[in-house]
Structure formats: structure tokens, C-alpha cells
């Protein structure tokens, strides 16, 4: 019996060794361990064994079975690993083939620049406010210290609806509207569309966008204005950006300034974007004129503030090196998808 078992084991192990494929391996399992298998047959012949020998015999059968099973499992794992390897090899793809893209739309470069500016000022505690695009002359000019017949009114090439109503030439009227509401302190930016009667060409558009900024509080200083706009410029154009404040004149601020930033294309060495100067003019600003505060019901002895106005297109055109303003309104998808 012992020898028989040994022979079965040897035979089984040899067959497992030679199986070479998972289905063959299963045949081996059935042949030896199945209901009609050779080892099962041996077990069935137990009754022919003397009762006293039966435990030892049983043990021997079980050992044999365990050995066969363990070798079967081992071989199965090996074969499975081989099969997987083969499958993976056959599934190699050319990863440089074109991607299957979800065709996502693109945001207008103006909006991208605007969102950047909004993000910076919201981070500094500013609220975004909007005002009407068709505006009373009163807000667009008079409340900003630009009375009737003021030359600045001519300079701005205003579109008129009638004597009292204009297409706003600047976002500054939102300043007056917010100040009039009398909720102090104020920290706001007002982005929006403005209009001037310039013929359309590569550098002019009768409609463009500005972002107005206004801060009114006790003890606001020109130094605060400088600090705020320096921070803005660094966040928008990079941490190495330098700013230059030049005296200027606006009717609704005093003192007033124009602000240049070190050219963000060449870093200030001089290039075609900054016309060799190393500086790019980006905005106008100043301390809110006391008369403007008075007209809006704020006591200039108690409150001071600063205001600034940024041309959005100016930033977008420079930042993205767009050389023709007309592209912004043509909406050619070949243009838009570059942003």
C-alpha cells in the first residue's frame, strides 16, 4: 500500500510538472484528487486495511494528498503569473497616440485677467461691486469733481444718450455710488465695461474695461495706497516686481499718481513691450479728493481714502502678448482656445 501511495504521488507530481497550462493542471487535479481519482480510489480501499493499521494508513493518504495539493497550488500560481505576464505583454499600447479629450471651452483672456485681479483684492478684504454701464452725467462727471464744461469731459470722448445720461467713460462713478450709501469703512473694487468714442483699431476700442478700487476709512494715507498697489503688482506680475509712483493729475484725487511697474517681460532691462524703458504704466490712483468726499456726504476731516483705476485690457494685452485689440471682440475660437 505504502508503495502504491508513493507511486501515485510520484506520478501526480510528474504530471503536475508537465501540465504547463491551467486547464491541464485541472485535469491532473481531477485525475488524482477527484471523486473518481486515483488517490480517492486508494482511500476507498481503506476497508481492506487491517483496522489497527488504518490510522497510520489514513495519515499517509492525507499526507500524500496534502503534498499533491500543495504542489498543485504552487504550480497553479506559477502558471497564473505566467499567463498574466503574457497577457500584459500582449496589451502594450503606444502611449504617444493622440489623447481623447473632452473638448472643454476657454475663458476670455479679459476674464482671466479680471479674475486674477479680483482674487488679489478679495484676499485683501475688498468687496466686488458693480454699477450701471449707462450712467447719469452726475455720477460719471459731476460727483467726481468734473463739472460741466470741464476740459476733462472733452478729453474723455464721451458717448451721450442725452444731456443727463451717458455711457460711462470710467468705472469711477461706482465710487460715488458706494460712498453715497454711507456704509463705512469701504474697501471695494468695481470692475466693468466703459465706453469712449475711439474708432476701432489695433490699440483702441470704443468699449473696454476698467477696475476701480476704493478704500475709505479713518487714517488712510498715501503710504497705504503705495503699499496696497505694490502688493497688488507683486501678486499680479511676480514677487520681484518693482513699482514707480509718478505725480499726475486726476480731478477726483489729490495727490494723484500714475503707477509704472518694472517690465514683467524683461524684468526692467528694456524690451519691445516696455519700449526700452524697463517700465510699464498700468494704473492711475490717488487720495480721494476732499471735495469728492464732501459731495458724497463723507466728512473729509474725519475720513480719508484712496482710489485707483486699472485698465483691464492693458493688463490682458501685455500679459498675454496680444498685439491687436480687435481680436478681443472677434471671438475667433482659434484665438480664444489659446487661453
Amino acid at each position: 500500500m505504502k508503495d502504491k501511495l508513493k507511486a501515485i504521488r510520484e506520478e501526480a507530481l510528474a504530471q503536475i510538472e508537465q501540465a504547463g497550462a491551467l486547464d491541464k493542471l485541472n485535469d491532473v487535479r481531477v485525475n488524482f484528487l477527484g471523486k473518481k481519482g486515483k488517490l480517492t480510489a486508494v482511500l476507498k480501499s481503506m476497508k481492506e486495511v487491517a483496522p489497527e493499521d488504518r490510522p497510520a494508513f489514513g495519515q499517509l493518504v492525507n499526507e500524500t494528498r496534502a503534498q499533491i495539493e500543495s504542489f498543485l497550488d504552487e504550480t497553479k500560481q506559477k502558471l497564473e503569473a505566467q499567463a498574466l505576464e503574457l497577457q500584459l505583454k500582449s496589451e502594450v499600447i503606444d502611449v504617444t497616440l493622440p489623447a481623447k479629450k473632452n473638448s472643454v471651452g476657454h475663458r476670455h483672456p479679459n476674464t482671466i485677467a479680471l479674475e486674477e485681479v479680483e482674487r488679489i483684492f478679495i484676499g485683501m478684504g475688498y468687496e466686488v461691486v458693480e454699477g450701471p454701464e449707462i450712467e447719469y452725467d452726475l455720477y460719471n462727471f459731476e460727483k467726481l469733481n468734473i463739472p460741466a464744461n470741464h476740459p476733462a469731459k472733452d478729453e474723455q470722448d464721451t458717448f451721450y444718450i442725452n444731456k443727463e445720461i451717458v455711457l460711462r467713460t470710467q468705472t469711477s462713478p461706482v465710487q460715488a455710488r458706494v460712498m453715497e450709501q454711507g456704509k463705512l469703512p469701504i474697501r471695494m473694487i468695481a470692475p466693468g465695461r466703459v465706453f469712449r468714442s475711439d474708432e476701432v483699431d489695433a490699440t483702441h476700442s470704443p468699449s473696454f474695461h476698467q477696475i476701480e478700487g476704493l478704500v475709505i476709512d479713518k487714517h488712510i494715507t498715501f503710504a497705504d495706497l503705495k503699499g496696497t498697489l505694490e502688493e497688488f503688482a507683486k501678486q499680479l506680475f511676480g514677487p520681484d516686481t518693482r513699482t514707480k509712483f509718478r505725480p499726475h493729475h486726476f480731478p477726483f484725487t489729490e495727490p494723484s499718481a500714475e503707477v509704472d511697474v518694472s517690465c514683467f517681460k524683461c524684468g526692467g532691462k528694456g524690451c519691445r513691450f516696455c519700449k526700452g524703458s524697463g517700465w510699464i504704466e498700468i494704473l492711475g490712483c490717488g487720495m480721494v479728493h476732499p471735495h469728492v468726499l464732501e459731495m458724497c456726504g463723507i466728512d473729509p476731516d474725519e475720513y480719508t481714502g484712496f482710489a485707483f483705476g486699472v485698465g483691464l485690457e492693458r493688463i490682458a494685452l501685455l500679459k498675454y502678448e496680444i498685439d491687436d485689440m480687435r481680436l478681443l471682440y472677434e471671438n475667433d475660437v482659434r484665438f480664444l482656445k489659446q487661453f
Partner: protein, 805 residues
């Protein structure tokens, strides 16, 4: 405004800086220099030479060979110039030098290098040049010959720098002067700023008394009938005039400022206008009838011939200078032909007046004539400057021997302009600037620019030429300019903290952008104004309220003349632009306002409504567009009671493929296929689709509040229902019925099949829905489902729908 460096230096003799240093420093102290041009930038190695010998070129009829003494040596130069003779002193460019341009006046950037060489076999070691080759013109150097080499006067020093002799070692600065600094429209004003900026002494011209024993008032009487339009009128008289060219120094200064020298009298008036910023006018005294000047408004319909020989049409808002009989000039704009100075003039009347700036500006606009003088007057000049200017002019007349100045001045100046006194509050200036400057420092800055100070009253006294100083903030700017904006510290605002925020409607707009972009739409930007023809292109009927658009009074043309009342034209125009550029599968969106007037003509501001407009052609259809709308509304929590009503009231859309979008009872937008005729009009050769959502309505309904409702724990039961439906019944109506009848346990109903065709009887369609029921709190029993389905069946049958299963 332009000045030369040499003219500034005439009043700030210690000024010692390069053109770039001047540009930077002046700009930072508030006198913005836009740029500068060095007159000698393209001139190099040019000396004064004297021609000693001229011979005919052996091989060329038109060339001569000159021996030219250039001081250190005599060199041979071949030239074709017709005008030189032995003894002439001429500008000579030496070998390796440069000239600015050709003799025909064409300039070459960087100049033209001159090398020695041979001309028809004869050696030439340089070039003699014309005024044009030196980068200038006969307008500015009238003594230069019309064709040929420039000739220096006999006393010119041979071998000396010719550029220097011509006054071309100079720089012209171009300034951007802001409207508040009227004083800086004259060289003196800018020189004062330059002196203060560089901390140098300022030496303005010293005006000395002039005139003989006679009195101007015996020659002329001046009456100002409209003192509000003419606050001051100064007149002086010069007799025995000797018209001649003005001296070279004056010619050079005018030339460098771009003004053509004419004769001594004209040059003096131009010179004063540059120097003082005060325009002057010279009348031929013998043409002034009645020996009197009357300043009055023009008569209605009056015409007048100005000295440029043009007839001008005037109205009673235009101020005129008249004599006893007739008009002799348009005040502040241009004199008349009838009284202009000619070469035969013997006695003249000098006028230096001050006119109302606004009136001059408006008159100049109405007449259509803007002159150097009107450009200055319209800024609103200082009346106190006029007297100084006219006296300076008379001083120049005497110095130049141009005539005999009559003593005295006729001065009509009823209300003398007084300096403004401003309380000096150094602590407030520091508080505004964020600085910590001493009183002394501030007063030092004020002194530099001729602001007075009264220590008794502690007031700063702003001279009348500074018309921009009224209050402390103005003084703060003066302090800041000279302390230096760069030296002011940088801080961030302190005080009560504020929270940054994006208002709700802007958040909704951002969702619109995100959804549109996820769905493949790119953002466009359209004009707010458009052509009224847009209505015709969109087939909008004549009586449609959409045609009640706001008109711009002064549009850029008919194509930009009305404020849009719909956003479709802009979208279709952009789609068409893409189509004509062969872009495939174009999807665009826009967020922009339309402008709906409450009444016309406009009395109050219109309703500006932000429209979210989507447009596409190429891949996709009506339902693709509808999908974008649904995604958008879902994202804003506007789900549930949405409906699409088929309508055909929008003429620019396909009558059978358009719908209004409702939420409950509110119409929030519409969508549809563009009418084929309209698409063709715009030039879009494919089916195009449009959706427009009215953002104020959408924003009103939108919410970002969400509540977690749990993930369903009990199983769902699904029943399919197949039916034959009359074509007139819409899917939306069926769904409404299922939702209404399904009750609380209805989870969803989904159309999964729709078919129209041969197997279905005429006028009907086959539709199949999958209806899902689920309860939150229990497993549904068969009875629940059966009851609900029965209700649904009954409902559908009432709509003449035949249930098949």
C-alpha cells in the same frame, strides 16, 4: 508742450544733467517728460570749412573739386552743389562722420555715415552739406539757400564745430502737461519746476520798463463789453516799426521749438507765447478804425475773414475783438485779415488778454478752428501773467530795435485776481501722506516753487499762476512731489477689518462660465452697441418692443448707434465670423448686458440685464443645447419644476424648434434652432442653436444651499410603460402627469424609447418610459406600486394615450 534744454538753461543756468537724467527727475517731480530728441543725434564730425580753391572735375561736367580749409589742414572735397564759391564758409563732414539725412530732406534713422572715397576717379575726403542733410529745414533756417550747401556768415570761425554754430547741440523735450498746471504751458513755468527739482537757482527774465514819453491811452481806447468772457485786456503800442529778421538766438530758440521764424514782430509774439504761455496778437494800428478796441460777442450770423483767408461763421457765443467799425479778430483764436501785420506796417497794437477758457474751447469747436493761441487760452490763463508778458514783448522790441515803444499800457482789468491763501496744517499733510516731515521741510519745498508763506496767519500763499492750489490736499501733493513719491513709506491700511467678498450674482455668473466651458463653449465678448439693422436681420417685426432701443447721440456711426436690446445679434455675428474663417464645431458663450429702456426718450437709467447667451453650430443639436441649460440650472439648484414651452414667437428661431424655459411660473430664458433664413443672412451655412438665459431671473432663483438626503437604503422598483401617444401630446406633458400622479414614492421617470413611423398609426408616436418607485423608510409592497401605476394609467388615458403594456 515742448522745450529745448538750452532754453530751460537760460533760466536755470546751473542746471547740469544729461537728457535722460532730466527726463527721469522731471517726471518724478510731476512734469512728465514723454520723450526727447537730441538735434545732433545723427550728426558727427562736422566742422566749419572755408573753400580756398574750386576746379572743374576733369571727367564730370556737374562736379567740382574744392580745396577746403578745415582749420587743421586743407582737404579735397568733390561736390555737385551749384552754390559754392571760393571764400565760402560751409559745414564739412569729415571722413568717418555722419549726417542726418539726404539733401531732399529725407531723414535716415541712425544717420548716414560719410567715408572718404573717389568720385569719378577724384579723391574726396568728406562732404559739404545742406541744412537738410543736417537734419533741419529752410523753414527753421530761412537763411539757408534753396538748393545747395549751407553757408555760414563771414565771421564764422574756420575749424570750429559746425553743429555748435548752428545751435544743434540741443535736446528737445516733449512734455505731457496735465490740465491743472496751466503755468507749465510756458517755458518759464517748466524752468521753475526744473530749478526746484534739481535744487538750482531760478532766474526768470528780468522785465525792465519800456516806452517813450507818450501814452498808449492817447492812441487807443479799449472797451470790454463782456468782462465775464474777457477778465483782462492789456494793450500797448509800438510805432516806427522796422520789420526785419529776428536775431539768430531768437530764431534758433523758435526753430528748436518747431516754430518757423518769420520776422522780428511775429517772432516776438511767438516767443512770448512759448516763454510765458501767453498768446499775443499784433494788429496794424492804422487799420484800427476809430482808434478803439471793443471786445464784444459776435452778432448772430456774423461772418469774418481770418488771417488765413478763410471766411468763418460766428454766433453770439463767440467773443470778437472789434474796432470802431468792424471786427478785427476772433478773441483768443485768430486775428483778421483786415488788420494783420504786413511788411508795410508802421504802427502796431500789441494785445495780451485773458479770455474765459471754456468759452474759447467751445467757440473754437463750433467754428472748427483750433490754433496755438486757442489751445493755450482754453486752459484758462492767469490774468496777472498778461501784463508781464506784454511788457516783456515791448522790452524785446526795444532790445531788437524793432520799433519805438509807446509808453504806458491800456489795461482793462476790473476784478484783479488775488492769490489763494491756504491754512498751513503740517500735521494734516503728514496724516494724509503717511509721512513725518517737519514744518521747515515743507516750507522749504513751497519756497522752491515760489509759494509764499505768511507766518502771522500761518497761511501758504499760492501765486495766481498756480491755479490748482486751494486746500490742504493740494499742498500735500506739492510736498509729496518734492519730498519724492518714492520716499513716502509703504504701509497697508490698518483699521477695522473688512471681509472680501464676491456678491451672489457674480458667483452665479461664475457657475455659468464653468458649466459653459465644461460643455465646450468658449467665452466671447460682444459690443454693447450695434446697428439698428440687426432687428431686420433677426426678422424682428416693426412693432416689436425690442425695437425700442436707446440711441447714442454721437455714435461712431450707424453700425454702433443703438444700445442692444437682445444678445442674439452679437452671438450670431461671432458665430458667422468663425464660420467664414472655416472654424468647425464652434461653441461660444457670452455674459453681457442688454439695455431695456423704461421709456423713450430716456429719463431714468434703463434696466441693464445680464444675459447668458450660448450659441453653437457643428456637432450637437437642440437637445445638446438643452442639456447645457439643464446642467447650468441643476448646478444652481433650480431643478424640479422646470418646463419648456414650445413657442413660435421668436422670429429669428425655427418656428417648430424653439422653447421658452420656465421655472414654476417664471420665464428665465429661451432656446432654439436659428431660423434658416436668419442663419443664411448672417452667413452661417449650418444649423445653429442659441440659448439665452436672463441672469437676473436666474440669480433670483439660484441657491447654493444643499441638504444631504441620505443614500437610499430600501430597494427601488421599476416598471416600464409603453404607450401610443397622439403626436400633439408632448413628452413634458406626459412627464408632468407621471410626476403628479406618481406621488411621494415616485423616484424618477425616464423616457427610453420614442418612435414614429410605419408601424404606428398616423398622427401618433410610440413612447416608452421607465418609472422608478422607492420609499425612504420601507421596502415598497406590490400594492403600493399597483396603486400608483393605476393612477398614472388613468391620467395618461385621460390624455388620449393608449397604454400598450
Amino acid at each position: 508742450m515742448n522745450t529745448t534744454l538750452s532754453w530751460i538753461k537760460a533760466y536755470v543756468p546751473d542746471l547740469d544733467c544729461t537728457a535722460q537724467e532730466y527726463t527721469d527727475a522731471m517726471t518724478l517731480s510731476g512734469t512728465k517728460v514723454e520723450g526727447y530728441v537730441a538735434a545732433d543725434r545723427d550728426l558727427d564730425k562736422i566742422v566749419i570749412g572755408q573753400i580756398e580753391k574750386i576746379e572743374q572735375h576733369p571727367d564730370a561736367d556737374k562736379l567740382i573739386v574744392c580745396q577746403v580749409n578745415i582749420g587743421s589742414e586743407t582737404i579735397q572735397i568733390v561736390t555737385g552743389a551749384p552754390n559754392v564759391k571760393v571764400g565760402d564758409k560751409v559745414p564739412v563732414v569729415l571722413d568717418g562722420g555722419r549726417v542726418a539725412g539726404n539733401h531732399d530732406g529725407k531723414m535716415t534713422e541712425g544717420g548716414i555715415p560719410i567715408k572718404k572715397g573717389k568720385l569719378r576717379g577724384i579723391e574726396s575726403n568728406g562732404m559739404m552739406c545742406s541744412i537738410e542733410e543736417l537734419g533741419s529745414s529752410r523753414d527753421l533756417y530761412p537763411e539757408a539757400p534753396e538748393y545747395g550747401i549751407y553757408l555760414f556768415p563771414e565771421d564764422a570761425e574756420v575749424g570750429a564745430d559746425a553743429i555748435e554754430a548752428l545751435g544743434l547741440h540741443d535736446v528737445t523735450f516733449e512734455y505731457e502737461i496735465t490740465s491743472n498746471r496751466v503755468d507749465c504751458f510756458g517755458v518759464i513755468g517748466i524752468a521753475r519746476e526744473a530749478a526746484a527739482t534739481f535744487g538750482k537757482e531760478f532766474h526768470p527774465p528780468v522785465v525792465t520798463p519800456t516806452g517813450n514819453d507818450e501814452q498808449a491811452s492817447d492812441y487807443i481806447k479799449v472797451t470790454v463789453q463782456d468782462p465775464d468772457l474777457c477778465p483782462r485786456y492789456c494793450a500797448r503800442v509800438v510805432k516806427n516799426i522796422r520789420i526785419a529778421p529776428s536775431p539768430k538766438w531768437m530764431q534758433r530758440r523758435l526753430a528748436a521749438a518747431g516754430i518757423r521764424p518769420i520776422n522780428n514782430i511775429v517772432d516776438i509774439t511767438n516767443y512770448i507765447m512759448e516763454e510765458y504761455g501767453q498768446p499775443m496778437h499784433a494788429y496794424d494800428y492804422d487799420q484800427i478804425a476809430g482808434r478803439e478796441i471793443v471786445v464784444r460777442r459776435a452778432k448772430p450770423g456774423e461772418t469774418f475773414v481770418t488771417l488765413d483767408d478763410q471766411e468763418r461763421h460766428l454766433d453770439e457765443n463767440v467773443l470778437m475783438i472789434c474796432d470802431g467799425e468792424k471786427s478785427v479778430g476772433i478773441a483768443g483764436i485768430m486775428g483778421g485779415e483786415n488788420s494783420m501785420i504786413t511788411d508795410n506796417v508802421t504802427t502796431m497794437l500789441f494785445e495780451a488778454a485773458c479770455f474765459d477758457g471754456t468759452n474759447i474751447r467751445l467757440s473754437s469747436k463750433r467754428i472748427g478752428l483750433r490754433t496755438e493761441a486757442s489751445a493755450k487760452f482754453e486752459k484758462g490763463l492767469d490774468p496777472n501773467n498778461a501784463e508781464e508778458a506784454i511788457n516783456r514783448a515791448c522790452q524785446l522790441v526795444e532790445e531788437m530795435g524793432a520799433g519805438e515803444v509807446v509808453g504806458g499800457m491800456v489795461d482793462v482789468y476790473p476784478v484783479v485776481k488775488q492769490p489763494v491763501r491756504i491754512p498751513f496744517e503740517p500735521e494734516r499733510i503728514n496724516a494724509l501722506l503717511g509721512t513725518d516731515l517737519s514744518e521747515e521741510e515743507m516750507l522749504g519745498y513751497f519756497r522752491k516753487i515760489d509759494l509764499g508763506y505768511d507766518p502771522e496767519t500761518r497761511e501758504v500763499i499760492a501765486p495766481t499762476f498756480r491755479q490748482d492750489l486751494f486746500r490742504t490736499a493740494d499742498l500735500a501733493e506739492e510736498v509729496a512731489r518734492f519730498y519724492g513719491y518714492a520716499n513716502i513709506p509703504t504701509t497697508l491700511p490698518t483699521g477695522e477689518a473688512t471681509t472680501g467678498k464676491l456678491p451672489f450674482d457674480l458667483r452665479v455668473r461664475q457657475i455659468a462660465q464653468e458649466i459653459a466651458e465644461f460643455c465646450g463653449f468658449s467665452q466671447g465678448m460682444m459690443y454693447s452697441f450695434e446697428s439698428p439693422k440687426a432687428f431686420d436681420r433677426l426678422l424682428i417685426p416693426q412693432d416689436s418692443p425690442l425695437r425700442n432701443a436707446i440711441r447714442i447721440m454721437n455714435p461712431l456711426g450707424e453700425d454702433f448707434s443703438i444700445m442692444r436690446t437682445q444678445s442674439v445679434n452679437g452671438m450670431l455675428t461671432s458665430l458667422a465670423f468663425n464660420y467664414s474663417h472655416r472654424n468647425k464645431n464652434v461653441r461660444l458663450y457670452e455674459l453681457g448686458n442688454i439695455y431695456l429702456p423704461k421709456e423713450l426718450p430716456l429719463r431714468e437709467l434703463p434696466d441693464e440685464r445680464m444675459q447668458f447667451t450660448l450659441g453653437m453650430y457643428g456637432e450637437g443639436d437642440f437637445f445638446t443645447m438643452k442639456g447645457v441649460v439643464e446642467e447650468f440650472l441643476d448646478k444652481l439648484g433650480i431643478s424640479g419644476r422646470r418646463s419648456y414651452q414650445p413657442e413660435h414667437d421668436r422670429p429669428f428661431l425655427h418656428p417648430g424648434r424653439q422653447a421658452n424655459i420656465y421655472y414654476k411660473k417664471t420665464r428665465i430664458g429661451y432656446l432654439g434652432e436659428v431660423h434658416p433664413t436668419v442663419a443664411a443672412t448672417y452667413g452661417i451655412g449650418e444649423k445653429a442653436y442659441i440659448a439665452v438665459l436672463d441672469m437676473p431671473e436666474v440669480t433670483e432663483l439660484a441657491t447654493f444651499d444643499r441638504k444631504y438626503e441620505g443614500i437610499a437604503r430600501f430597494p427601488a422598483v421599476t416598471r416600464d410603460i409603453s404607450m401610443i401617444v397622439p403626436k400633439t401630446v408632448l413628452a413634458g406633458q406626459i412627464e408632468d402627469m407621471i410626476i403628479q400622479r406618481g406621488g411621494k414614492i415616485l423616484e424618477s421617470c425616464q423616457l427610453f424609447d420614442i418612435y414614429e413611423g410605419a408601424q404606428i398609426r398616423m398622427g401618433c408616436k410610440s413612447m416608452a418610459y421607465s418609472i422608478t418607485f422607492r420609499a425612504k423608510d420601507r421596502t415598497l409592497e406590490e400594492a403600493d406600486i399597483t396603486a400608483a401605476m393605476k393612477k398614472i394609467w388613468n391620467g395618461l388615458e385621460s390624455m388620449h394615450i393608449e397604454i400598450r403594456s
